[in-house]
Symmetry: D3
Subunit: 228 residues, 6 copies
């Protein structure tokens, strides 16, 4: 990302949790989207955020801090990505800044709609599913949803690559075989490393939502489009 | 777009009609999306296509020629965009090539879903609206549709900039005031020159669908995602 | 509400804004729902809330304070009502306390579904409508929505009873005549005084959402039902 | 229910079948909703009704008798509840009387919508499910339906408490595990005794629809709201 | 309808009201559907029915009499058509007899779905519209509904051909221009005489529902298909 | 079909593939629909069509040839049926000719909507299901879809009657038991011979779509209705 960029040309991908390891995972996933002549893509943790976004309390707790952080970055910002699958604070950030703001859930799903007819979502936690379903309803895309299932692993298990991939594969297969999914959306940020092997294992397209959102953000910067 | 690109790195934006002036308009609209390190964006007319895509016959007539053309370009292609608002042959082209293929209708609408809650579409011809509605139904996004109205200008009128902008503005305002739209999608290709003034006149975001599709295509190339 | 009640028998109706006059209006509207042997109904302002809930920022700013306030009242609480038509923090409060929690938007709409086939909503501000539409989508009840229109009065006008009733009547009539509504939901709290005259003027049922929610809360307390 | 009530202050809960044992079960379930200053809640059997409402013929046969009975009670009535999960005659009774009329199916489902994101219904008979699905469609709430399954017990088995609870639990679990329900509606009247143990067994909220309807009716009386 | 037919080969079109003039209008409309070698089409009034089906009471009052009448005709019946746009007793009659049973509302709408993308309905009475909307919801076809509007003529006006055609044309035009309908369904039986002139006046297809239902019934007899 | 018919009185059922055996199967299935005074029903293969319609390419390849063929037959045509479950070229043929045009998918499903509440579809190939789902979305009937599953037999297996019936029965049972279907649509043409035994085996109505379409076409000819 060598050469200095003019103001208003950076995509800020904000991880609403404070776990730098997650932000690092997101950052690594951005590599293919960094091009000479394209916008810089900068990944940040929300320092005041919780270690992870698991509960509704977590979701609510980051909305205004995300808006403040976005506002503080506005001079340099071309676009913002909220990098958590619950799209916390999405509409608050949109209201706070002029630049386009994309949530990874909405971007992941909108991208999936171009890759298959019925999308399945692999969630981490069962408890997040009702929240996600509300968001799909607000988006008006439920008729395209095949189903959402959680891998249900604890923190220790989630740190084990093989165990996690195995569970994701099992759940993805059930979404395909029992629910009729023909494209999968990963229902979380920071797990881009699993995308390719999961796609191989399942034999159907898998969308990593942070990449989907950043990809959309690049074009949005270039065209300078944002909501009213 | 100076430096030579590796194979498989070009976005081919194919205008399914044979009117070079339309292709030129699309090509001009691509300017902001061309980045030094980004994919080349090449705009082509379908030589065998009709002068415009107006009837269902026109739509059907270009499906397989588009698939053939895409296949012939496949070695150099990173992605394809079908640049007609009826998304003719979209699924045939997807079947024909490995690279990602995006329609401008679907991309325009998916983009609009991130810019407002209810999208309105400005069509050229009344007769296209049922065809578009079928496509929105297939996409499963009708609950987000505020309405679609046609400007209903003849070819002579469409060649008059002021007259056309005036009608688009009238129709856009009716979509907003009577139908509740808060984001507008232009229901045709090759009219990107109207986007900015229309957005100014209406005071709400206006999506030009060829740009929306090409923007999504860039990211798709970089991530190398395509349907199963 | 004379006699002392056992713990866990009070309906707390929380106005998420800090304007006591609004809370007083809500409190007055609760009169018919106060019965001997029934739960106490206590109306509170959220002291830390903004003077009104108008923006997305306002909505987000009260979510966790509402959850905290609810938790602090939990020993005495039988149920909670969030008395703002954006249902701010609804799911955060549900997560925070064991007692049932009802939003006035959801309760107002669910009640309207038993009074007519297509509900119209009279909003105060145009800018709130997209937020409301997202909520109707999340609830899955859009096919019953006839439309939502704002009265668009400024603060001075809103303080004038006749002017406000006149505008509500105009908007209500348009919802009926142009959009096909056969039941009206008032899209705000604290305006219960208009319900009866508006219903008379329109000749169709009008739902005041704070009353709708408190009414549902009473039964919920008595049956001791709450979410998982 | 000691002190005499003014006219128009009684909730009449009408069991459309003539089986007094069912009416007694409904009556017992009303206990928590009877408050000193609240409306009386009187449960009646429709004497001319069939022993149970199982077929479409049964449903149709009670519609006008219910309307007549309601009209005959109108002087004392504050509200009516039709206590059969097919909501027989709901719109005929609404047309016949001025007082509010609630069906237990609609009330049970509307209540469930505030307790979970996707409701499952436990029916008694497979043959009733298409009729219920038509009603959910008319209500416009199908996108919130996880699924409906019948316990399929015969009359003898239904009279065995343990057997019935066991089957309800099995079916409820399948609605949760296979269909994604997070709240259950009991698809019949007169079985309130199973609600609490079923909720315990399933670990998710269970709605008994007669109670849900009577609870809504109490508020409706107090506010004196009814359809146009 | 000269030659004697085997048993089970007659389409019975039952007008659920007792007004012979309406039945005569239906009967006249059947002429084009009577073919040598095809089923006989016999039109009957329900003698015990009200003079017209206007209220919910009227609808309910005919359900079981229709079932009885159908059963009494079963030996000679190949199919039944319920010739009232509220499809009264449709599911009761289906349950009562083995032969296929079609409602004119459902058949009119299903036919319209093959003639245009968005259907408009011309009702006689405003008060019937909510009942019709419930039925469209139960059918799951609301997303294809452009709108429904009533002509609102009294009995005297309805007896005046020119006045009635004029109002139908006005309402049909509003359904087209304001609501986006491209096919019209006549929301009543016995007015087939207006179909052709209305179609001419509106320049779009107009479906007369009794004819639509009888046409479907003929095929159903020939194929001997009926519900389970 | 002995006696000569006037022009414009023949139903042309066009098999878009060139396999005469399939056309023969369709032709045999038309027998019950041929009546002395009814329209002739003539079944044709599209000579230029592929041996089967399996891919999107196949679907697109026949659209304009179907339109040409229909136009060439127009003088003698009363109606057209496109006899392939993907309804290829349906809207192109409608545009090309004045006579009514019916697709077997739409007709099969519309017919199923009168025979049960939730339809299941038995497809031949998994790969066709997304295409079918898009069509159901365009039709706006997805909320009535229980599910679609493919039998997944190869060509050799498909030529074995017992093996095919066995697989259809298995898949039909799964659509009923797991997905909740109460009516089945056969998702292909030319297999009418399986309809009756499949219906017997499943105990629920089974719709053969070519027959459903031809049945609707007969009435359409007689009434002379077609799209605008």
């Amino acid at each position: 990302m060598s050469t200095p960029l003019p103001d208003g040309q950076t995509v800020f991908v904000i991880n609403p949790n404070s776990t730098q390891r997650v932000t690092d995972g997101i950052d690594a996933a951005m590599a293919p989207l960094r091009m000479a002549g394209g916008p810089a893509i900068e990944c940040l943790s929300l320092q005041s955020g919780p270690p992870g976004i698991q509960t509704q309390h977590d979701v609510e707790s980051v909305a205004l801090p995300l808006a403040s952080l976005a506002r503080s970055l506005e001079a340099r910002a071309g676009a913002f990505v909220i990098a958590c699958f619950s799209d916390p604070g999405l509409f608050a950030v949109r209201e706070a800044v002029k630049a386009p703001v994309l949530g990874i859930m909405e971007s992941g799903i909108l991208t999936a709609l171009t890759l298959g007819q019925r999308f399945g979502v692999i969630a981490i936690l069962d408890a997040s599913i009702p929240r996600h379903l509300r968001a799909y309803g607000a988006m008006g895309v439920q008729s395209r949803l095949a189903g959402e299932l959680a891998i249900g692993l604890n923190v220790t298990e989630l740190s084990q690559y093989e165990r996690t991939l195995e569970r994701m594969t099992e759940v993805g297969r059930r979404l395909c075989d029992d629910k009729g999914a023909d494209v999968i959306v990963m229902g979380c940020a920071g797990m881009a490393v699993y995308r390719e092997p999961l796609q191989q294992a399942l034999g159907m397209p898998v969308v990593e939502p942070s990449q989907a959102a950043a990809a959309m953000a690049i074009g949005r910067i270039k065209m300078n489009w944002h909501g009213a």
